[in-house]
């Protein structure tokens, strides 16, 4: 008897919660700009949200000083990461506990993730850059999800803004990733890494064969040689286009997330945006993983020995 009553009591609680949630959603929709526009009057004026406006370029809160708000956010996330790692590793113990344990968890997971495809020797090269990119991107994405983040106004402009929504920061990361991939390629293969781009070997051999009188074999080799040269030139193009694709993937995802949250806040100011905040947290993590994972993948392709 008591068991049954307790169960119905639990059910009642859940039902009350669900009804309250629905009521909040409906009230917030009615109170929002759109809902009050449909009804024609403004019953709940404190829920009115201004029409969202999106600026592609980052704003400058201090007009005279050329410091954009995305730069300030990037500095904050750098300081945050540095501070957390400094505090966590200040007095390291052999048996970790607390913060040190957590940091070791992150670093170990990253090391496993990198050494799995790259092997131990190359994994040690890739580890610092890939992990730093991952941590920086994920810190930028998650710092900007703190409630009230974009509401601090200085001179009418927001003081802080998600650093990944400034095209410059993904572009800078993409250039860093590109430079390191080429550097690792040269480090692993020496000057013969250039063969990836300028592959004249087969063509040269075919020409030699033709001039030494073996025309039939030479003509077949000539085609293969031309294809190899063309493939090398395409490789140059693909390395350069990769940078743009890196940039726009991160920038686009983060900007789309920002606009989505803005529009949901405009449509339904309560409850529903929380779902999108959770989604943004997940997407920030996934994009960071993809940025560092792709750097890792291209680096592996660059250092791989060709047979």
């Amino acid at each position: 008897m008591t068991e049954k009553r307790r169960r119905t009591g639990g059910l009642l609680k859940i039902m009350v919660l669900v009804i309250a949630l629905f009521a909040m959603i409906i009230v917030s929709f009615i109170g929002s700009e759109v809902g009050s526009g449909i009804i024609g009057l403004r019953p709940i004026s404190f829920l009115n949200v201004e029409t969202p406006k999106y600026n592609p370029a980052p704003e400058r809160p201090f007009h005279k000083i050329p410091v954009t708000n995305t730069m300030i956010t990037a500095w904050i996330s750098i300081l945050l990461l540095g501070g957390v790692f400094f505090v966590g590793t200040r007095n390291m113990k052999l048996v970790p506990s607390g913060l040190q344990n957590f940091l070791e968890l992150i670093v170990e997971a990253a090391a496993n993730f990198i050494e799995d495809p790259a092997g131990e020797k190359h994994g040690r090269w890739f580890f610092p850059v890939c992990t730093t990119i991952f941590l920086f991107v994920v810190a930028n994405a998650w710092v900007s999800l703190i409630p009230g983040f974009e509401t601090i106004l200085v001179n009418g402009e927001p003081l802080l803004r998600n650093a990944n929504t400034d095209l410059n920061i993904p572009a800078a990361l993409a250039v860093v990733s590109f430079c390191f991939v080429e550097y690792w390629g040269f480090k692993a293969k020496g000057i013969s890494y250039l063969k990836t781009f300028f592959h004249f070997g087969p063509l040269w051999q075919a020409i030699k064969l033709i001039f030494s009188g073996n025309i039939k074999a030479g003509a077949g080799g000539l085609l293969n040689g031309l294809v190899a040269v063309f493939a090398g030139l395409l490789e140059i193009l693909s390395h350069l286009i990769r940078m743009m694709s890196f940039t726009f993937r991160l920038f686009g995802n983060m900007t789309a997330g920002m606009i989505l949250v803005m529009i949901m806040l405009f449509l339904v100011p309560w409850v529903i945006p929380a779902v999108f905040y959770g989604m943004e947290a997940f997407f920030g993590f996934v994009q960071a993983m993809i940025f560092s994972g792709l750097t890792l993948g291209f680096a592996c392709a660059a250092v791989m020995e060709e047979e």
Binding site: Y54, N55, P56, S245, F248, R249, F251, G252, N253, T255, A256, I259, V286, Q287, M289, I290, G293
Partner: protein, 78 residues
């Protein structure tokens, strides 16, 4: 004349994201199908399938994001 430029901008932005989302949508559908098939055949490999599926989806989604960037540029910058 001014209004026609605005009309063209809005139409172009809508078409860019609308048409640009078709391909990635199909791609993500195929990816999800492949992942479900793999999961049905080999339920123990759940973690690996999940990770690779999310990576693949992010690749497919990137194409839609390019279209979105074009749409944003058309509306706000052009």
């Amino acid at each position: 004349m001014e209004i026609w430029i605005t009309v063209a901008k809005l139409l172009g932005a809508g078409l860019a994201i609308g048409l640009g989302a078709i391909g990635p949508g199909i791609g993500i559908g195929i990816l999800g199908m492949g992942a479900m098939n793999a999961l049905g055949r080999n339920p123990e490999a759940r973690g690996a399938i999940m990770t690779n599926m999310i990576l693949g989806i992010a690749f497919a989604e990137a194409v839609a994001i390019y279209a979105l960037v074009i749409a944003i540029l058309l509306i706000f910058v052009a």
